[in-house]
């Protein structure tokens, strides 16, 4: 502001001096011309323009039909914001295949998994996946043969490869790259779901009407209306339908990946209006927000959360909107329309009595990672407090991993800083409140209130439903609680007793069992597949607390590595590797006979449960195992 005032004073004085001198020394017509030009050009026109800018900036603009630009346009005026976005995994969510974007090993090796085989190689600058074998006959758009990688999804945890068919459909190829483990996996072995019955190719999906919406900026699947009416849409979402070479999709994407306009709305009007430097300066000096673009920070909390929640939440097109969305494109514009106008979320479906087990624990806590929005909505911190997505995450000044605010060391995004919570709970002394020594993981807010109750991308993830630990729910629903997720050697009633003593709850009275077997073991042996996977993760966590050397965990994890669910085997093997003193040879996707041979070679220790719990109680627990089919719908 000082600079602006100084500029105004110096500029006006200069104009006055120039005009006075012109009248003194130049001929009158020339002086008049110069004075007129200066007064009109340097004073009158900018002032009238400024007044117009201030007037129009207070009028809301509908962005529903505004055209999109790309991040390249944004970078001209917002280079720092574009740079910070470019460092995130949002930018690289969908990419064209090239040497810098392809993470998978395309060196020509043959990969055999789950009865299927493929060779990945480069040929004339293209990346090719050659399917050599499948173990079952399945309905799919893919048969054995060579497929060029035409597009890819993901760059952080997983990378999925797509091939384009002549009818315009991009199909997911059945082998995916796990970037975390640097290995090939199958799409069927990459989710928490019952052992595959459809075969290796059975999971092939069409990108155009599935993944494209959330992994790109404003997508129009462009599904042909006649094709759409021929195929029942939910089936179309799940499975590729083999067709002739007639065009089924004319898909358009405004920008590959999740770019600026995915959160800020279409930018053409903003770019056009702000071509005027007067407008840009006037808006900044006046501190006005620009109605020609969406700024999530200035939206109402509900609208702001929907900017993130569109993709970090689950939504299904309303019946009457399905055709419009698949043939005409994404109707949601951040900050303009509301998601519920076009979509229905699983919480609503649950209230209606629909089967939503794939999405929720029985108490409605979300199960998959992709439902952070619904988790936050269900949190007391949101309901009775001020929490929204930006309370903990920052899109433009945080490390790419998790994009957390307040992380002291940006290179270590795993560090969980209590400042996120103490923004509101400023009076809480975390050590006194948690009854755990300060600076230990037990004293961290997230350790108790955001336990690992969520699963996605083949790992356990903190729940975004901020909650109070409940042993009752663990016993009743198999939903793990924060206490016994860390104290993996303690039984459930021990944690309930502590809760009751410290916080005056009534947890112990609500428990039916008083088994001395650690809750983590009960969950791993008796729970359903999701409970088992999360227990397997807890048992090998670096901050898990256990009696003695904790060697018993290796034995129990070794048993879990023979689980029918690939996800449980994977998390158990990851935990085993965390605890094992040396490297082990175990592939959770290898055929059963191979896996068992690998397990036998591990030379697992004899099982001795901690704290007087009896090993002979485990077979009875195993007999009671919840063998119901569990699918976590990421």
């Amino acid at each position: 502001m000082i600079s602006a005032l100084l500029t105004a004073v110096v500029g006006t004085s200069a104009i006055a001096l120039l005009i006075v001198t012109a009248f003194r020394t130049l001929s009158r017509p020339v002086a008049l011309g110069l004075a007129g030009a200066l007064i009109v050009g340097a004073i009158a026109w900018p002032l009238s323009r400024a007044s117009r800018v201030l007037r129009e900036s207070s009028v809301p603009i509908s962005l529903a039909n505004v055209a999109y630009e790309t991040s390249a346009s944004c970078a001209r005026c917002h280079p720092a914001h574009v740079r910070s976005w470019a460092a995130t995994y949002h930018r690289t969510m969908t990419q064209e295949p090239h040497a810098d974007s392809v993470l998978g090993d395309f060196s020509g090796k043959t990969v055999e998994l789950e009865g299927g085989a493929a060779r990945m190689f480069e040929e004339e600058g293209r990346f090719v996946m050659e399917l050599l074998a499948v173990d079952r006959t399945v309905e799919s758009g893919l048969e054995l043969g060579r497929y060029t990688v035409d597009r890819l999804v993901g760059s952080h945890e997983m990378q999925v490869y797509l091939t384009r068919r002549p009818d315009g459909a991009y199909l997911t190829l059945p082998f995916e790259w796990n970037a975390r483990d640097r290995r090939w996996v199958t799409s069927t072995g990459n989710f928490l779901q019952p052992p595959p019955t459809e075969g290796l190719l059975g999971h092939t999906a069409e990108w155009n009407s599935n993944c494209s919406f959330c992994h790109n900026t404003r997508v129009n699947p462009g599904q042909r209306t006649d094709d759409f009416s021929r195929i029942e849409h939910s089936a179309a979402q799940r499975r590729a339908i083999p067709t002739a070479n007639t065009e089924r999709y004319a898909t358009t994407v405004e920008e590959l990946g999740i770019a600026c306009e995915a959160c800020h709305g279409p930018g053409h009007e903003h770019v056009t209006r702000n071509a005027s430097p007067v407008r840009r300066h006037v808006l900044r000096l006046a501190g006005r927000s620009d109605p020609s673009i969406v700024n999530p920070e200035t939206l109402t909390r509900a609208k702001g959360m929907e900017v993130c929640g569109r993709c970090h939440g689950k939504w299904f097109p309303r019946d009457e909107k399905v055709e419009m969305i698949f043939t005409g494109g994404e109707p949601f514009v951040p900050g303009q329309s509301r998601l519920h106008e076009h979509y229905e979320d699983p919480l609503t479906q649950r209230l209606r009595g629909a089967d939503t087990d794939g999405y929720f624990w029985p108490d409605a806590t979300p199960r998959p990672t992709s439902m952070e929005y619904q988790g936050v909505l269900l949190s007391a911190c949101h309901d009775r407090g001020a929490m929204d997505c930006s309370s903990c995450h920052s899109m433009h000044d945080a490390a790419p991993d998790d994009q957390l605010r307040f992380v002291d060391d940006p290179s270590n995004a795993a560090f969980e800083d209590d400042q996120m919570c103490t923004q509101c709970h400023e009076d809480i002394d975390s050590a006194a409140h948690s009854r755990h020594p300060a600076e230990t993981s037990g004293s961290r807010c997230a350790s108790c209130h955001m336990p690992y109750q969520t699963f996605g991308l083949m790992k356990a993830v903190r729940s975004h439903r901020v909650s109070i630990p409940s042993m009752r729910k663990t016993e009743r629903d198999g939903m793990p609680n924060a206490c016994t997720q860390c104290h993996v050697d303690r039984p459930l009633h021990w944690a309930a007793k502590r809760m009751d003593q410290w916080y005056g709850t009534d947890e112990l009275a609500g428990l039916v069992e008083r088994t001395p077997v650690p809750a983590s073991v009960v969950e791993l042996v008796r729970g359903h597949a999701l409970t088992r996977a999360l227990a397997a993760h807890a048992l090998g966590a670096t901050d898990a607390i256990t009696d003695g050397d904790g060697g018993w965990r290796l034995r129990i994890l070794g048993a879990a590595m023979d689980d029918p669910y690939a996800a449980v085997r994977k998390l158990a093997a990851d935990s085993y590797r965390n605890l094992s003193p040396g490297p082990i040879q175990f592939d959770y996707l290898a055929p059963p006979a191979t896996r068992r041979a690998q397990l036998e070679a591990l030379d697992l220790p004899i099982l001795r449960l901690p704290r007087g719990a009896h090993e002979w109680s485990l077979p009875a627990l195993a007999m009671d195992r919840d063998n119901s089919d569990i699918t976590v719908l990421e």
């Binding site: 600079s3 602006a4 100084l6 500029t7 110096v10 500029g11 200069a14 104009i15 001096l17 120039l18 001198t21 012109a22 003194r24 020394t25 130049l26 110069l34 030009a37 200066l38 050009g41 340097a42 001209r76 005026c77 917002h78 280079p79 720092a80 914001h81 740079r83 430097p277 840009r280 300066h281 900044r284 000096l285």
Partner: protein
Amino acid sequence: MDLAHRHTVGGWCMLSAFIALGLILEALLAFKVGAYLDEAAELRREMWTLAHAHGTLLSLVHIAFAAYVKNRSFDAAPFVSVALFLAVVLMPVGFLLAGAFPYEGDPGSGIWLVPLGGVSLLSGSVAVAWDSLR
């Protein structure tokens, strides 16, 4: 002090000042000063470099104008003198201010002094050109 002398003195003084500014910018480079060299300071570097360049060149214009008016008298000379002094102040100061307080992707408000200085310089130049044609 006549016009020629005034512009000779002014030109050399300002040339000294803007050469000194150049040395300061070199020092910022040499000592790797973040406020000048960081990625986010790209616009500041550009603005201050332009301030240095414009100031130095306009100082030379003053010296050239001193030589021009030394042996020649013309009616518009006082106007040209004022116009050139305004230009040599407004343009570099505008760039300096714009670089000192930039917005993201846009120079600060001081940038508005630059076109004003440009108009001033242009009107002075046209007056000299007109006189030299006669």
